[in-house]
Symmetry: C2
DNA sequence: CCCCTAAGTAAGCGACGCTAACATATGTTA
DNA sequence: TAACATATGTTAGCGTCGCTTACTTAGGGG
């Protein structure tokens, strides 16, 4: 675990930092990405931002609250990725829905530490109001796309139920992938392909077997 | 976070504990179950076992190594549950395979802290040789049952591939359930029912829609 | 211009993981 | 049975962490 080296303070030499709150969130994000949320210390973020370890408490209640801020931003990122995936593959199409799932996994791969923070086991972190709201809005996108798909294809089905099934599968895939649990058992597994194969079945579409 | 109150040492008043290694593992398990692995401290385990905080280092390299021991035992428990589920529902049957999945989720519910430790993000913990071996053996059970099922039903399919799909779905369900991510979005969801509904489709069996 | 408040620092508390040095049991061997 | 070697405890202490209290400084409004 190497030490954090201070970045040049934006307000060099000044007693007041000027934008410490934002600087701390940036430092926290960087450290969480570099070393994982488990190994993140507030003290390191302070060193990186060039302030003493007492300074954050003027802007955040405690360590937890900085992480909440980070998690909320993470859901925004994920929503944006989801939106892009759907738009570029067609609203309410099976390809669009599949692309959403693949974007979910890709987010977990690209932003592993953030994903773990967002869906990890820290209960207090996830009960924050803005975190809950953003999570719900993320899932609402999935329901909407599935409902649209069912409507377009004239399929008689319960969209929220199907959305839950899709989410469950895709979340399992993302988790097992980034936690390297697949490696022990199915090394080299192509997870994007896995989702491609399973999505139709979860959408109640019969497919010919894949080679 | 309440303090741990010491259990009566097995070897009362003696300078040597007698079975400290085992006592520490027991204390660790209890504390992990009570407060979660994140909040577990070695010092608490020492108090519970009635020894000083330096004592564990005669039996374990570090805190991590006690947790490895715990994880290994967790996989044994899970294997056992899996075995029982299959035996009581029929080897190589769709019911047996479904029961395995449900047992997986039930384990996560009953032993949430253990499940999180076993599939959590601590990389060092999961690379221990005995942990890897036990995980593989657990998964091998699934493959065997799927292969047996395919053979009995005369289905031409890739058993490991199907097993991965089943594991993925069931793991996603367990994770989202215990992390209370479903609650925000689909409160009161019946996860065992969810698995019941999806298992046939993952086994490539067409089913009539569930009500 | 003065004063109030916002936002930083300094110092310190208790807890943690871990280590080094010391003490005491245990059991093997002469 | 006495002496030694080793296994297994304790005591004391280091550095770090999250967080609090009391002090200091900067900046804006009367």
């Amino acid at each position: 675990m190497t030490k954090a080296t201070p970045e040049p303070a934006s307000n060099k030499g000044a007693y007041h930092h000027g934008e410490l709150r934002e600087a701390l969130v940036r430092a926290t994000r960087q450290l969480v990405v570099e070393r994982g949320a488990e190994n993140f210390t507030l003290a390191d973020a302070c060193r990186l931002a060039g302030v003493t370890t007492a300074a954050p408490y003027r802007h955040f209640r405690d360590k937890q609250e900085i992480l909440e801020e980070l998690v909320a931003r993470g859901f925004d990122d994920m929503s944006e990725r989801s939106r892009v995936a759907v738009e570029s593959h067609g609203e309410g199409t099976i390809e669009g829905i599949r692309a959403m799932g693949q974007a979910y996994v890709q987010f977990a791969v690209d932003e592993t530490a953030m994903f773990r923070l967002m869906f990890g086991q820290n209960p207090a972190l996830k009960k924050a109001a803005d975190v809950v709201a953003r999570g719900q809005s993320c899932f609402a996108n999935v329901i909407n796309q599935v409902a649209l798909y069912c409507q377009r294809e004239g399929i008689q089905a319960n969209a929220p139920e199907i959305a839950v099934e899709l989410w469950t599968f895709v979340h399992g895939a993302a988790s097992l992938l980034i936690d390297e649990d697949y490696e022990k058992v199915a090394p080299g597994l192509d997870v994007q392909r896995l989702i491609e194969n399973v999505t139709p079945r979860l959408l109640r579409v019969a497919t010919t077997r894949d080679p």
